[in-house]
């Protein structure tokens, strides 16, 4: 019985529970709802909630845990002798999984029945032929022991599925009967339902914490894996990045970090003056009509997906910068460059800087401006010498937030900055960033066995720490500043 069918059953049970609970409550008081503590619907809701929710949570947990547990027990079956030289336990496990999936497909399409399949297991060559006929191509010949492991995998998975269906249904029916039994005229059904819902609301709001834990767990766990295969000292101190999938690669983070910071720096060089001046103009000078048009139009820039900016960098800005600046100045011949990515990213960041600064400038009390005007200062002098210093902490916060966004931005640099890791000062040269390398090391690869793929997690951890630090700093500055005027 699969999960979809189980879900459907649970939904049916819930609906039935509502009707049954309601009917039982009413029948206990002979149809006179005044004899009940709560409205009749609440009795129905208790039954439905207790029948569905615990069973549903069990189902979810089971679906998450079962593959992990099965994998662990099968991994234990693999003997050191099964692991060919140059291979690893993970690669053998991948084979086991694929064989098991192929067997599943053979049975599902009716090509073989279970008995025939069991007979095939001791004959690996025959099995391999049948599998490749079903679309599962395997490189190496199957060892008998591996075929057995795959069979055991299938058996355990099937057993798990059966047990899951059984236990989920048992929990659902138990909850159903128990809460139906609890229904009585004096039973405080509304309070029970409300407490139950309250817990569900708390659970929903805790998902944010779970997500953070998930991120940190997955990053730290796999990075730790990486540092067991590759010395941390080389990762943090080496100045070259040259991954070789055959092994013996140099995975120093500095060229990537340099590219990231260089691109972000150029982006901020574009975004901060433009964004800040735009914010000042729109909040201090612009007529209401201009403001009503220009502010939303600039904010449209923030709503455009980054892939659009990436394509803009690749097809328009890159060739333009190459033909009009890099080539005439003899600085390079590459259309993807730090400059391309930086300028485009700067455009993307303009609205972040401008709308945040706009809010902050507007929050500066009018009395400060009036005082300055009273002393005879012009409007620009007031802005530069009174409003700007008063708003400075908030503006710094806004810039830091923009910087954190620049560091974490992916699509623009993937399409605009290039893939060559180098430490260079020439902004018209292609360089690469942390995010580009995360994408290129992980795309299409899920067997995390080599340092070349695992390094992406260490890079991700670095990125996460960087952006988190910047954000916390920015939030702290902004919050401190807000307290000043409230």
């Amino acid at each position: 019985m699969n999960a979809g069918l189980l879900l459907l059953l649970l939904a049916g049970l819930g609906a039935l529970g509502f009707l049954a609970g309601r009917a039982r409550a009413l029948s206990l008081v002979r149809g006179d709802a005044r004899g009940l503590h709560s409205l009749p619907g609440y009795y129905g809701q208790t039954v439905a909630l207790f029948a569905v929710v615990p069973a549903f949570l069990l189902l979810l947990g089971w679906l998450l845990l079962q593959p992990v547990l099965v994998e662990r027990s099968i991994t234990a079956m693999i003997l050191p002798a099964d692991i060919a030289s140059g291979s690893s336990r993970e690669l053998v496990m991948a084979d086991v999984r694929r064989i098991a999936e192929g067997m599943e497909r053979l049975v599902a399409t009716g090509a073989l029945n279970e008995g025939e399949l069991a007979a095939l297991v001791p004959q690996p060559d025959l099995l391999k032929d049948r599998l490749s006929a079903a679309g599962v191509a395997l490189a190496a010949p199957i060892q008998p022991h591996i075929a057995e492991a795959a069979t055991a995998w299938r058996a355990e998975m099937a057993l798990g599925q059966g047990l899951m269906a059984l236990s989920v249904l048992a929990v659902a029916v138990t909850g159903f009967l128990w809460s139906l039994w609890r229904v009585a005229p004096g039973f405080r059904a509304r309070n029970v339902v409300e407490r139950f819902i309250r817990w569900m609301l708390i659970a929903a709001s805790s998902i944010a914490i779970l997500t953070t834990i998930g991120i940190i767990f997955s990053l730290v766990f796999e990075s730790w894996h990486f540092f067991q295969l590759y010395p941390a000292r080389d990762f943090f101190l080496s100045l070259t990045w040259s991954p070789k999938f055959g092994g013996g690669s140099d995975l120093g983070i500095w060229p990537l970090l340099w590219g990231t910071l260089y691109v972000s720096f150029i982006a901020l060089l574009v975004a901060v003056p433009v964004g800040l001046m735009a914010a000042i103009y729109l909040s201090e000078y612009a007529t209401p009509a201009l403001r009503a048009v220009a502010k939303p139009a600039i904010e449209v820039l923030a709503g455009i997906p980054s892939i659009v900016y990436g394509l803009f960098a690749l097809m328009t800005v890159g060739p333009f910068l190459r033909d009009w600046f890099a080539r005439p100045m003899g600085l390079g011949d590459s259309s993807s460059s730090v400059m391309t990515a930086g300028v485009v990213m700067g455009i993307m960041l303009i609205p972040y800087v401008s709308s945040l600064s706009d809010d902050i400038i507007n929050a500066v009390p009018q009395s400060l401006r009036d005082g300055s005007y009273g002393l005879g200062a012009t409007q620009s002098e007031t802005i530069r010498q009174v409003v700007f210093p008063a708003a400075l902490p908030g503006i710094v916060g806004a810039i830091l937030m923009a910087a954190s966004r620049a560091i974490g931005e992916t699509m623009i640099v993937v399409l605009g900055a290039g893939a060559a890791a180098r430490l260079d000062l020439n902004p018209f040269e292609a360089m690469t960033t942390v995010t580009v390398k995360i994408v290129s090391q992980l795309t299409g690869d899920t067997e995390f066995a080599s340092p070349e793929t695992l390094v992406a997690f260490a890079l991700g951890l670095t990125l996460f720490v960087f952006t988190l630090g910047l954000n916390i700093l920015a939030l702290g500055i902004v919050r401190k500043y807000r307290e000043q005027y409230e």
């Binding site: 953070t212 735009a278 000078y285 097809m315 399409l415 995010t435 994408v439 795309t443 990125l463 952006t467």
Partner: protein
């Protein structure tokens, strides 16, 4: 300043420079110039932002609009029953035995016959080179059309077959005679023939609905590539995001805004939500790869995984919007409900939530629009894979491999043929149209239902 003081002669010995109050002195002039300069800087910054927006949109539109039109060879072809259905019983299962090669041969003969009939001089082009004007996908398309409607057999039809991307590019100005001379895939002679065929009405450029409905095509057939799978995949993901993030986001906001006591736990939740909104999207991709694919064993490239990541990314947006609209419901509503004896939960679910619903929906739509354009995390969960088959209907289809609109753009930019660059821009237009309509819907909802107390 009064008339009296302005009219008074500035004979005071304390007056610096001896200048009048009407004619500004040098220092005032400098200060006024600085003022004007500052203003101009501000205005030019605003204009720069607007120009950037216009250039960005114009460049994408300019590059992409042509992707919606395609060059077709209108091929008059007689579908001979003796070739396509030897048994003669119009049984699709038996007709499937005729491969695309058989159809290709039929089309080649039809094409040469059509050229001869119109008296078009083919020069010394070989039949194979003439056939090369047609897309490699064309025979398969004809075969699909015949298998879908066996009654076509025996008839003479004018079949619109895709022209190859070079011919298409020639009529769109992307390919020139010069570039063709250097191109192994096309020769100037072939382009001259294409010109003659266009004059004879055998080739025409028209709207290509296949761009929106067909699946992706291989590296060598850009003319046949479409967005069908990507649009469907994106729709599936949006469905998952909507179904998960709306209830979870609303539940979380209700708790935080209406019920939560001020304690460490709720503080922790608040800080987490603020931080999650700022975590780079690629990090969510790493989370999905490690958690959903590696540990939970969900399939790669599946819309369900994409939907789950995008849900996690959208949640903070939805929570922030929902809390704002819950906060906008005036406390008097709550007080009135509590005053007539409603419980806390009844107050929220019967009164506050319905009043806040328009704001919540607006926020959700904006969150969805953001999720629709997100591509970085989807790259990591394998959505860049080449997918030609449409995913099945939900719910099984949620686990089938699919692509997504922004990711399709990315994978098209990674291909060598310049025809794919045009299609990538076209796909961006489709994406932007979706985003625009979602935003318009949100604005409409706000205008229609927003209440001010």
């Amino acid at each position: 300043m009064t008339d009296l003081s302005a009219a008074a002669p500035s004979s005071s010995p304390h007056h610096r420079g001896g200048a009048s109050l009407i004619a500004p002195d040098a220092r005032t002039q400098a200060r006024n110039a600085a003022e004007r300069r500052f203003r101009r800087f501000g205005l030019s910054a605003v204009l720069l932002g607007l120009v950037a927006l216009v250039v960005l949109l114009a460049s994408v539109l300019g590059n992409g609009v042509s992707a919606f039109r395609q060059t077709y060879v209108i091929l008059p072809v007689t579908l001979e029953a003796s070739v396509l259905d030897k048994a003669g019983n119009r049984n699709p299962d038996e007709m499937k035995k005729v491969t695309t090669l058989g159809y290709g041969k039929l089309m080649q003969e039809a094409l040469i016959a059509a050229l001869a009939e119109r008296g078009i001089d083919t020069g010394d082009l070989k039949p194979k080179e003439i056939m090369a004007l047609l897309s490699k996908e064309a025979p398969a398309d004809l075969r699909d059309a015949v298998l879908a409607d066996p009654s076509l057999i025996g008839q003479s039809i004018a079949f619109p077959a895709f022209a190859t991307s070079r011919v298409d590019g020639y009529f769109k100005g992307r390919v020139t005679m010069d570039s063709a001379a250097r191109d192994a895939n096309i020769s100037p002679a072939q382009l001259q023939l294409a010109d003659a065929m266009r004059a004879a009405g055998l080739i025409e450029t028209r709207l290509n609905p296949g761009f929106l409905t067909r699946p992706d095509a291989s590296e060598l057939r850009p003319e046949a590539a479409g967005l069908g799978v990507a649009i469907l995949g994106s729709a599936y993901m949006m469905l998952v995001v909507l179904v998960l993030s709306l209830p979870i986001g609303v539940a979380a906001s209700i708790y935080l805004e209406e019920l939560a006591p001020k304690n460490r736990w709720t503080d922790l939740i608040e800080i987490n939500i603020a931080n999650l909104a700022a975590v780079p999207s690629i990090v969510f991709g790493i989370l999905a790869l490690a958690l959903f694919i590696n540990i939970a064993g969900l399939p790669q490239s599946a819309p369900i995984v994409g939907g789950l990541v995008l849900t996690l990314m959208t949640l903070p947006t939805i929570i922030i919007a929902t809390r704002a609209s819950l906060k906008a419901v005036p406390p008097s509503i709550r007080d009135a409900a509590l005053g007539v004896g409603a419980s806390r939960m009844q107050t929220i679910f019967h009164h506050v939530l319905p009043l806040a619903m328009p704001g919540i929906l607006t926020g959700t739509i904006l969150g969805l629009a953001r999720a629709l354009g997100e591509s970085a995390p989807l790259l990591l969960i394998g959505m860049v894979a080449f997918v030609r088959d449409f995913p099945a209907a939900p719910p099984a289809g949620f686990f089938d491999p699919a692509s997504a609109l922004p990711v399709q753009v990315y994978s098209w930019t990674q291909r060598a043929d310049p025809a794919f660059a045009e299609r990538a821009s076209g796909a961006i237009i489709v994406l932007l149209v979706f985003l625009l309509s979602m935003n318009a819907l949100a604005i409409l909802l706000r205008r229609r239902f927003e209440r001010r107390w």
